[in-house]
């Protein structure tokens, strides 16, 4: 009889492949990668962000409003107000026929992308409703999500996280998996910062007190500055009246880094590109002795009086930063601003010690459960039980090899899935053995009984396992993170147990029965 049948070569090949894939997890030296551990096992942070990309549409409409006004001003056309409405349309009111015609001309020439509906507003006045087409709106929203992803990826890279996984989920969500984060709060601050830097003039015609009483001039807004008293350490909110017009923004930055003032207090030095430097030069030159506010995410950081024209495009942001805050702000400014604010809608953080505990307890239960099952099978089926046990051990190796080969992630529920597989994988062998016992009971010889047992049981085993496989596939589709890890090990376990029961066990039985002309079978 040939020692190397086709089946045996396949079995050996599968076993060696699995071991090759599995080895790096234990030795660190083999060519392939280790098994990925999920965040629940190695510690880390899972975040789901929602990009408020409607805000990007709003911003686009605000820009359009500004440009429209500019065009009208250029042609000296009077209007009765142009503003963005709550429903994200622009409402423009023109006083008379002449203005109406001129307005229409500008729209068709410069803003042909907008959808326009006109209606009478009493007398000669006309109301225009301008709307962005739906596909353009969608485009802006999609771009905002993609741009947010890029920006966040840059920030994470600079922050220094090994092997982050950042991807878009659905229409406006970003999923982040950040292994080994030590300071989750700081990471969240950095990721969630919009980092919208603007330079705007302070409106000095009216005092903040008066503005708060209600006499806020058109085109201005109230923004606050957080000021910390250096002696008492108390923070106070100081109101500023800031002109809405943005003179310069952070998009023209080329660099931002931490610097120190004369008291060794950290501050963030920024540098503009040539275009930005030119604009900065012009606005400082035009507004000498006026106050220029540096606004970051709608908070005023400082509002110094411009003493002189500033050439060279350099400025500093001060604001009682700690070293870490200054560092993170510099990262955020360098990586660019988010096109729209983001909200954290899901967070799961696991500390490294808990992850290690989970691995330890998972392993202990796997070993304990496995040992008990091995013992049970050996006692119950004697010789055949040992065959089943061999199949079971091979099964575990195959699951491990499969995890490494597919670069799937092992999670705590995933370990539970392997443990469950240990219990369920022997099922296939049990079905076969019970059938063999029955066949022997009906008077067949061991060889005939084994053949009949495998023949009859194969279809049953396939049927029984397909249902669990269906459940595993649905679960894989539905689940995220840890639960997905469970679906993976469960699915791998089913496939592996089919192989070990139907191919490996059968091959071993064939080997035993061919060697001796057996009249008895240990089962």
């Amino acid at each position: 009889m040939k020692p190397f049948t086709f089946t045996r070569i396949v079995i050996l090949g599968v076993l060696i492949t699995a071991v090759v894939f599995l080895l790096p997890t234990f030795t660190n030296t083999w060519p392939h990668k280790k098994i990925n551990l999920g965040l629940d096992l190695q510690g880390g942070m899972h975040l789901v962000l929602e990009v408020q990309n409607v805000k990007a549409v709003e911003a686009e409409l605000e820009r359009t409003v500004d440009e429209l006004k500019k065009e009208l001003r250029k042609d000296s056309i009077t209007h009765l107000g142009i503003a963005r409405q709550e429903d994200n349309t622009i409402l423009a009111q023109l006083p008379d026929k002449e203005a109406k015609n001129a307005f229409e001309k500008i729209i068709s020439k410069e803003f042909s992308n907008l959808k326009v509906t006109a209606s009478s507003a009493g007398g000669d006045a006309t109301k225009f409703q301008l709307r962005l087409p739906d596909d353009e709106k969608e485009m802006i929203q999609k771009m905002a999500t993609e741009q947010a992803l890029e920006t966040i990826r840059n920030r994470i890279d600079e922050f220094g996280v090994s092997e982050p996984d950042i991807r878009i989920q659905g229409e406006n969500r970003i999923l982040l998996q950040l292994p080994g984060i030590n300071d989750p709060e700081r990471a969240k601050d950095l990721i969630g910062k919009t980092a919208q830097l603007t330079f705007q003039l302070v409106n000095e015609d009216v005092s903040p007190e008066a503005a708060l009483q209600g006499s806020l001039p058109v085109g201005s807004q109230i923004l606050y500055e957080n000021k910390t008293d250096p002696v008492t350490g108390n923070t106070a909110k100081i109101a500023h009246v800031i002109k809405k017009q943005v003179l310069l923004d952070g998009s023209l930055l080329v660099d931002a880094r931490v610097e120190f003032d004369q008291f060794q207090q950290p501050q963030v030095g920024i540098e503009f590109n040539r275009k930005g430097a030119h604009i900065f030069d012009r606005i400082t030159g035009q507004n000498i002795k006026k106050r220029l506010a540096i606004v970051l995410d709608n908070t005023v950081y400082s509002a110094p009086v411009i003493q002189d024209r500033i050439a060279g495009g350099k400025a500093v942001i001060t604001g009682n930063f700690t070293m870490e805050e200054a560092k993170d702000l510099a990262i955020a400014l360098r990586a660019g601003s988010l096109p729209a604010p983001v909200n954290i809608i899901e967070e799961r953080t696991v500390g490294p010690t808990l992850g290690a505990d989970s691995i330890r307890m998972g392993m202990i239960s796997m070993l304990a459960g496995g040992a008990l099952v091995l013992l049970f099978m050996a006692v119950y089926y004697k010789g055949a039980g040992l065959v089943a046990n061999l199949a079971l051990v091979m099964n575990i190796i195959l699951i491990g090899g499969g995890l490494a080969a597919f670069q799937a992630t092992l999670t705590l529920p995933g370990i539970a899935g392997i443990i469950l597989t240990i219990g369920m994988a022997v099922d296939a062998n049990v079905i076969i053995f019970e059938r063999i016992r029955e066949e022997i009971g009906w008077g067949k010889t061991p060889l005939a009984a084994v053949h009949a047992g495998f023949d009859r049981a194969t279809l049953t085993i396939l049927d029984a396992n397909v249902t669990t496989l269906i459940a595993a596939i649905v679960l894989f589709q539905f689940g995220t993170g840890p639960v997905k890890g469970f679906a993976v090990t469960l699915g791998l376990g089913i496939v592996a147990s089919l192989f070990t029961a139907l191919v490996l066990s059968k091959s071993i039985f064939d080997f035993i029965l061919q060697k001796k002309t057996a009249s008895t079978l240990s089962i």
Binding site: E346, M361, M377, V466, T468, V474, F478
Partner: protein, 345 residues
């Protein structure tokens, strides 16, 4: 060794009434449990909220932890012991969802330091926003529904060769559920309705094996959910994974019995012989049914006692599911198929 004698012949179908009463008691208890607790006790995965696991180096009374958090203004705040007593671990939960993503862990840590004088180790933080929770709830229900449906197609196809009939039926059901879910129909109502319609269709179309399996599965899932709510245990994502696995596992048992019924039924056309045949099939597969449940329970008990608190409820759900699933494949699935097969006309 042999636990179940090979010539065993228990009249399971003759004991149908006992099984029926037993199932009825469990189902009624589950319904009462669900009513008393106003539905399943959703964990933060589904209800939204936050969970923080803290660990102290020394023993801190739970009341002190509670008191120190009282000033934080959190809704539905609960503090529980977690893990072994000498771990000094607590699980802090709140239903407040406005805290999602904001420095809740820091605030909790600071409040505990102020209240107890000890800085806790923050071992785990989970925060789920309300809309995420709602979506997960919907997805979980859909996942359960789809896996039930796919499995029943498979059963009809394999056991009655009615692939096309069952496929078309299931396809129509899925399409209906999909369109109705777009129109914001409440998901639990929708799924319940779809299951009732499925059962009705299987009955009308004489897909008896599919019907038997579906009834057994609904029985298993419902009772597991019921026991969870009677014991007031949290429903989390891993529990859904457990439910889906139970669906797969319970069917595993059912299929082994069905398979044997199919094998024995060959060449048997008289309907009066059916009960005997069913009984014989159940008895022939009994040894395997029990053995597999035993090995599965062994590993689950290992997981339950040694796997740690995070995986505790998952293991518990699986243990219930394996017990109920084994029972239902004998006392629920087969009698239903028999009743459907013995139907006149």
């Amino acid at each position: 060794m042999q636990l179940i004698k090979s010539d065993i012949n228990i009249d399971f179908l003759g004991k149908q009434k006992i099984g029926f009463v037993f199932s009825a008691i469990l189902i009624i208890a589950s319904i009462i449990g669900l009513i008393v607790h106003k539905g399943p006790n959703y964990g933060i995965d589904f209800s939204g909220g936050a969970l923080i696991q803290v660990k102290f180096a020394q023993n801190i009374p739970i009341a002190q932890v509670r008191d120190s958090l009282a000033g934080l203004d959190l809704n539905d705040l609960s503090v529980q012991d977690f893990g072994e007593a000498d771990d000094h671990e607590f699980l802090i939960r709140t239903g407040s969802t406005e805290t999602v993503g904001k420095g809740l862990a820091q605030a909790v840590s600071a409040a505990i330091l102020a209240g107890t004088g000890v800085t806790p180790e923050i071992r785990r933080v989970e925060m789920v926003g309300p809309q995420v929770g709602d979506e997960l709830k919907k997805q979980a229900l859909l996942a359960i529904f789809y896996s039930l449906l796919f499995i029943t197609i498979y059963i009809s196809g394999r056991f009655e060769l009615k692939w096309i009939l069952s496929g078309v039926t299931a396809g129509a059901l899925m399409t209906a559920v999909y369109f109705l879910s777009v129109f914001n129909v409440s998901m639990p109502v929708l799924i319940t309705g779809a299951l009732v319609v499925s059962l009705f269709l299987f009955w009308r179309l004489r897909l008896k094996f599919a019907m038997g399996a579906l009834i057994a599965l609904i029985h298993d899932v419902f009772i597991t959910v019921g026991i969870f709510s009677i014991l007031n245990l949290d429903f989390s994502l891993p529990i859904i994974a457990a439910l889906l696995t139970i669906i797969g596992y319970s069917l595993n048992d059912t299929i082994i019995v069905f398979d044997r019924i199919r094998e024995n039924i060959k060449g048997e056309s008289s309907k009066t012989a059916l009960p005997g045949l069913f009984n014989k099939s159940i008895n022939q597969t009994l040894s395997r049914t029990i053995l597999t449940s035993v090995t599965t329970l062994i590993v689950l008990l290992a997981l339950f006692f040694l796997g740690g608190d995070i995986i505790h409820n998952f293991a518990f759900a699986m243990i219930i599911g394996v017990l109920i699933g084994t029972y239902s494949s004998i006392f629920v699935a087969s009698p239903v198929v028999l009743a459907a097969a013995a139907r006149k006309g």
